[in-house]
């Protein structure tokens, strides 16, 4: 079933060229969707549309088949269901300590105090940063900040989790551990939508891949097919996966 659907989505930043140019995309429940494209393709802009942060300058977004509402109550409902983790964790972490920051989302859900504590503890444990709870957010490494930022969204237990470049800047092991964490979340029923520049990672990890370039969709389908399609990948300005590398293992 389609959870979120973009129809003819267009976005023009003030005084700029279209960042999204008539894009159609369907986010299916319970899938792992990887979004790929070169720098400036519009990946971040798309994610910001999928939780209502940006409003389309053309086209529309449907949530559960119903046109999205951008009033206060509509956005609140939308964001309860769809969590977003920004590309740069420093844009997201604002509270003095990790614990406080992760508690922000659950507090906004108006949960009772005991439940907030459980949510925060669970999210920190899931991301493997329980020991950092009392650490000030400005005394974390890049990868730790990333995990803290993801925990902040996970603590709200959204149905869909949008993550902008989850593994960018992480060392190979940390990236692997983070993907394992995301896989567990998905097994628990969370739909994952993430952007990445790591084609091999997307090939191994994602169910579906969407390629786009210059704000237009080039191809969308099973990750194993799309990412090995030399023609489509080339049109998206990307190098196709060499399937032999993967089948060798």
């Amino acid at each position: 079933m389609s959870l979120i659907r973009a129809e003819g989505l267009t976005h023009v930043y003030p005084g700029g060229v279209p960042a999204l140019d008539g894009l159609d995309l369907v986010v299916e429940k319970g899938r792992r969707l990887a979004i790929l494209g070169p720098n400036g393709a519009g990946k971040t802009t798309l994610l910001l549309h999928l939780n209502g942060t940006l409003r389309p300058t053309g086209g529309r977004i449907l949530v559960d088949g119903v046109p999205a509402a951008y009033d206060r109550a509509g956005l609140a409902r939308w964001r309860r269901r769809v969590g977003l983790v920004l590309q740069d964790a420093d844009d997201q972490l604002f509270a003095p300590s990790v614990f406080e920051d992760v508690s922000f989302g659950p507090m906004n859900l108006d949960l009772p105090e005991a439940e907030v504590r459980v949510r925060v503890a669970d999210a920190l444990a899931a991301l493997g940063i329980a020991d950092l709870a009392d650490r000030p957010t400005h005394m974390l490494s890049f990868g730790q900040k990333k995990r803290a930022a993801i925990a902040g969204a996970v603590a709200m237990r959204p149905e869909v989790l949008l993550i902008d470049e989850p593994t960018a800047g992480l060392d190979a092991r940390s990236a692997k551990r983070l993907l394992a964490t995301l896989a567990e979340l998905e097994a628990g029923g969370t739909t994952l939508v993430f952007t990445t520049h790591d084609v091999d990672m997307a090939f191994r990890f994602a169910d579906e891949a969407a390629l786009f370039n210059h704000g237009r969709m080039i191809a969308h389908g099973a990750a194993k097919t799309i990412l090995a399609d030399v023609g489509a990948m080339d049109r998206a300005g990307l190098d196709a996966v060499d399937v032999r590398d993967h089948s060798a293992q």
Partner: protein, 244 residues
Amino acid sequence: MSTIDRVAHTNRWRSRSLSEKALLAFGLLVVTLAFPPWPTAAAVLVAAAAAAMVGARVPVRIWGLAMAAPVGFVVTGAATLMVSLGDGGPALAPNGLVDAAALTLRASAAASALLLLAFTTPASDLVAGLARARVPAEIVELALLIYRFLFVLADTFAAMHAAQEARLGHVDWRRRIRSSGLLAANLLPRALDRAHRMEAGLAARGWDGGPLRVMTPRRPVSAAGLAAVVATLAALVGLGVATR
């Protein structure tokens, strides 16, 4: 600034309740001001240093450096007390040495009491304490955001500065002035840009423009800690009364 912040977050008294630490620091301050400097202020100086270095394990070198600034300042000022301008021109003031020493002692003791609080309690905890003391939420929130932004901005500044330096932007004073101007001019739009993205991030987690609510960890007052603070202050008051 960042040294104090780092120590404040990592010292052994980090998890002690704010009330205990604030009571001790302000108690020491009041005792210092209420009694003649000798011997009370000297005792306060020792008590604050012991609390900081033995209790909270603030590194000796860092404590020494932090104390050196205010003490140096006070000594310079106090030196003027030693001289008096009479009919025959400047002369050593009668009692000048004693007055100068008393002033130095008292001011240093007061500084050490406040440094003790600064080194054991992060600014964010102090601000959270203000919230509990019924300071309006808007002010507290602003202070917390400024606290967080200071570090982000300092990082941005350091990165931009390093990038300029790597491209020889600071090799002589003319280029330094020009580069510094460019840096200052660019810092504001960058900060605004970040503020925009941060707003989007907050909204994504359900913020509706109202107060920023987080759950602050509670640090309960420990009976033993409180007793130790009260005993210390009582002993100092006793000393002050006995020697007055």
